[in-house]
């Protein structure tokens, strides 16, 4: 599996994603800078967390116009796997690659904590190594993770199985208490209709080593790996 981690000005989880893929999982990974216009030889593009352009104006609003984004859009249209984590998710919604928008947490605070996620759909390339209903313990760290989509869009997303993760409690119950940011119907992660582009607010790359308290994030990267292998065999 060959991955690229995009580095926008202000990205700051780029090195964490890189570290996890390379040092923990032994995958091939390279950085791609925001002003590069081409992306070659790649199976997975990661848009990492951070504060692109300071998150000034709106999270992800300015990064979305970086030169590299044309290549990302092109790659996604050709069916390539694109995963946006936290700020990366925000960039993808701003770019229109994913539906809806992410805005200010309902309590107005930045929130860093370990939360629980329920796998809502294990047919996507990002969750296929997990079981539906599995509960993952993964950190969140964001101020703008409040997901919104208008009712019609939401309904379509539900119908198309586009909701990948919801915030839940340690037992898997979806409740207001378990929602760290006011997100619509506890949505923590989604994918596009085709399923190849995904975004999530929690940080799976921070949950990849026992020393750091959880390895639950690995299943997402294992899923990606598995789906690529599968694709390769089918081809």
């Amino acid at each position: 599996m060959k991955s690229k981690v995009i580095v926008f000005p202000g990205s700051n989880c780029d090195l964490d994603a890189y570290h996890l893929l390379k040092d923990v999982l032994n995958y091939r990974v390279e950085y791609i800078y925001f002003n590069q216009k081409k992306i070659n030889n790649c199976d997975l593009i990661i848009l990492p967390g951070g504060f692109t352009y300071g998150d000034y104006l709106r999270s992800g609003a300015i990064a979305r116009f970086s030169p590299v984004m044309d290549a990302v859009i092109d790659f996604a249209e050709r069916g390539g796997l694109v995963l946006g984590i936290c700020n990366g998710f925000q960039v993808l919604t701003e770019a229109g690659l994913l539906p809806g928008a992410l805005y200010r947490n309902n309590h107005l605070h930045f929130r860093c904590e370990k939360i629980y996620l329920r796998i809502e759909n294990n047919s996507s390339p990002y969750t296929m190594a997990a079981r539906k209903g599995d509960i993952l313990k993964i950190p969140v760290a964001h101020g703008d993770g409040n997901y919104y989509a208008d009712p019609r869009t939401l309904e379509k997303m539900e119908r198309n199985n586009q909701i990948l993760f919801r915030y839940c409690d340690s037992e898997g119950n979806i409740s207001n208490e378990a929602n760290p940011n006011g997100s619509l119907s506890n949505i923590a992660g989604i994918c596009n209709k085709k399923g190849n582009v995904a975004g999530m607010m929690p940080h799976p790359e921070r949950a990849g080593e026992t020393l750091l308290g959880s390895t639950d994030g690995l299943v997402i990267f294992r899923s990606i790996f598995k789906s690529l292998e599968k694709g390769r065999i089918e081809r």
């Binding site: 000005p9 202000g10 700051n12 989880c13 090195l15 964490d16 570290h19 996890l20 040092d23 800078y33 967390g49 951070g50 504060f51 352009y53 300071g54 998150d55 000034y56 605070h109 930045f110 929130r111 860093c112 904590e113 950190p139 760290a141 101020g143 940080h203 790359e205 921070r206 990849g208 080593e209 020393l211 750091l212």
Partner: protein, 732 residues
Amino acid sequence: MNKNAWRELGLSDKEYQMIVEQVGREPNLTELNMYSVMWSEHCSYKHSRTSLNLFPTSGPRVIQGPGENAGVVDLGDGWAVVFKIESHNHPSAIEPYQGAATGVGGILRDIFTMGAQPVAFLNSLRFGDLEDPRVRYLFDGAVAGIGGYGNCVGIPTVAGEIYFDPCYSNNPLVNAMCVGVMPKHRLVLGKACGIGNLVVLAGAQTGRDGIHGVTFASEELSNESEEKRPAVQVGDPFLGKLLMDATLEAIEKGLVCGVQDFGGAGLTCALTETAYRAGTGIEVDLDQVPLREQGMKPYEILTSESQERMLMIVDPGKLKELEAVFQRWELSLAVIGKVIEGGKVIARYRKEVVVDVPAESVAGGSPAYEPESREPGYYKILAQHDLSLIPPPDDYGKALQGLLSAPDIASKEWAWRRYDYSVRTSTVQGPGGDAAVVRLRETGKALALAVDGNGTLTYLDPYAGGMMAVAEATRNLCCVGAEPIGITDCLNFGNPEKPEIFWQFKQAVKGMAEACRALDIPVVGGNVSFYNEVEGEAIYPTPVVGAVGLLDNPEKTCNIAFSRVGDLVCLLGASNVSLGGSQYLKTYCHQVAGRLADIDLEFEKKLQVLLRILITEELIVSAHDLSDGGLSVALAESCIAGNSGAEIELNNQVSPILQLFGEGPSRIIISFKPGNKDKVIKLSESSSIPLLFLGEVCGDALIIKSDGDIILKLSLGTMKEAYEEVFSCIMR
């Protein structure tokens, strides 16, 4: 020159005479402005220098002690740790968000300026009574600002402390600490070395903001100009991060030979200090400084404190490559001058020489004062306060519950979950424990980090309080199994020109220095913040210690949690405690008074060593330092953290109130599995450290017995609610 000119700039007649002698003529107004900022207390340490000499600043691990942007300590394996703490109290009192944010940005630059990759932030905060809405506004804003800057630059904030007392109402304390690591050979100093090298400015444009702390010559002062110079700057963490990444890359590639950040006193400080340290001179053309506003006067350009700027000394042959590094992030550089021989800083503006002064004089020529010092009247009176009159509580359970929800003691999660403490995937232990643990991927080892200070104790006894701050900060490192290797300190005091305040200062520094010597730990940097008073009312003397420790194996660490049912619970260390200065007295009698328990530094040292052995030999499961609230609070915290109860039996010799709520140094609660009992006893005996068996981890309540009777029983749920929900309620 008119007498008023220097007086209004805050310089005394005698200081003006010194300047005339050192320059060899009368300085012009621009030069006088430079002197005024550089000879201010903030930059010249004129009231504190002599006392600070008491600190031990060297040791086998010390690579760079005080005098540079930050201290540097050897970590072994070819790596070094760089750290410093700094105050941003006054700006935070009027614009808490930006004041705190720029404080974090400032200390960040001090670290990466030296070539180190920042890996952690810490902070120490003091506010007034939260009943006051203005205090709540300040508290909320400062916490948001610390997170706002730190989260954006992607450096985790892993530890800190927060206390509340009316003495900080109008003068909150916001102290920020940053820690970085680097390969030893990468160290770069703030020196203008190499005659002919270029002086290069990077980062933000220079504006009129932050030209403050200085009064202006009367002819230039008007209401309008006041308006134009807000005393608080706005930080730009986005630019700060780009600047950090570019500077570190430039240093790694060997493209710069000296780097200096812009802190207080802006360009003036950066130019004169780098030249002074290198024994060289600098010639600059102020017209080359990129400005944000039109019509800025030379003295404004020279003293502006606009944020996010760096000065670099560069070999002309490497300029192109340096530009390419900064260009990656679309940052441009401005060559503003060059390094010259002769030790002078010369500035031109519109072709005319407007400044021509010896760097040594501006940066290092200020007088040192040894102000008068006098023991304040309150000291003996409060020390004699009769503590035997304190009534025991009607209900020990209720008393503990109340303490757990006292803002000084209650969980500060409301604040620290607003800080990203897990970015960089290296935080093994984040906020909430005795010390943070941050692993170093490059060496497989880890840093332990803690920041501690106690204004109440220092007020009651500055000498003992100073010792205790050092002892507590280093003890906290030992509670996670680390060896303390260096400290940095931030000394927050009132007006040093008042003899009573200066006495507090001298006593505290003496105590800290003595503790450092006894515990064999060097001070490698720090900061002094005087004049923390409003309308003549000074804050408590509040020295804050930031401590750094080394942990050989991050797998072999410890936290505070009682996590395994059946484990034995013991009190390790001293038995002498006092209700003097305790949280019990503060919370239930609304008094800050009494004599503190004595501290024995030799004993403290032995305890710290023993603790590290117990942890690295993996004999104990938890360790928790006893501080605010004494034994009862520490037990409750360990229960809450581990989500288990405990059953404890007090001894009969001492009154329960003293045992449960008395406070004193050198005490730790540990828990371990019964199978390790003999080994733990043997090791503590051979170190002659008392080990007192208290009980065991069990059930889902904290139960405390005295003489066979249950005197306290609190369920986990009750304790959690008291401990965890206070701030969300108050700050709603």
